[in-house]
Symmetry: C2
Subunit: 134 residues, 2 copies
């Protein structure tokens, strides 16, 4: 009866990102990646472990035991999470217009000719699929 928010904190997001890269993995694997990409102060193994446990509790990850090892994986996909983020940006900053966000991206982030071409093709595709009202 209590569907809590269970939103990931900033720190938990970092763990999720590692899980998205690695897929199903052990605490050890996640911890190693995390400390590898962190310059400076190492964090202790139990810190990462605790994060995983908290996130399990919050249902941000699921866990299965395979071959006597605890394997964790994200319960939300990278795309889902991204789409939520994008929706929020579109609402907040572009009055609900994804197209304007796209224009903003194209205008401010160098995009190769090939990429632009792919976008064009995508637009054409939509076009032909949408116009078949003869």
């Amino acid at each position: 009866m209590k569907s809590k928010k269970n939103k990931a904190t900033k720190g938990e997001m970092e763990l999720l990102e590692v899980l998205w890269k690695l897929g199903s993995s052990t605490v050890r694997q996640v911890h190693d990646i995390l400390n590898e990409q962190t310059q400076g102060k190492e964090k202790s193994y139990t810190t990462t472990l605790k994060f995983m446990q908290n996130m399990l509790e919050k249902k941000l990850v699921s866990r299965e035991i395979i071959d006597n090892k605890h394997l964790y994986q994200a319960t939300i996909s990278e795309k889902e999470s991204l789409n939520e983020k994008i929706s929020k940006i579109v609402e907040n900053t572009f009055q609900g217009s994804p197209g304007n966000l796209v224009l903003q991206i194209l205008g401010n982030h160098k995009t190769s000719t090939e990429e632009l071409q792919k976008i064009r093709e995508y637009l054409d595709e939509i076009d032909t699929n949408q116009q078949p009202k003869k």
Copy 2:
């Protein structure tokens, strides 16, 4: 000599968003908007004030006194902030390819025909400006 991180917290981000909407404004104005768009538990005025003061300290906002009133405004623009956010997404999730992010957006967020048309026009424009190699 010390260029601290001074990254905004989630709560501070909310204030920034209000400042972006309102432009230069008083604590009172920001506080009213904030509590207006919040359902449930009102926060006290001094909470908002404290946020502003902290953010001033962190250089997230600047302050000027006009007509005996403290006016605050964001030191980073909404677009700048957005571009940083986008860059991070592009790096993290799209291997540095903004085009793929665009495709992801177009594929998952309903976009009106007019918007699509504007994107097409934008692409064409780039094209003509880019091909004038003879």
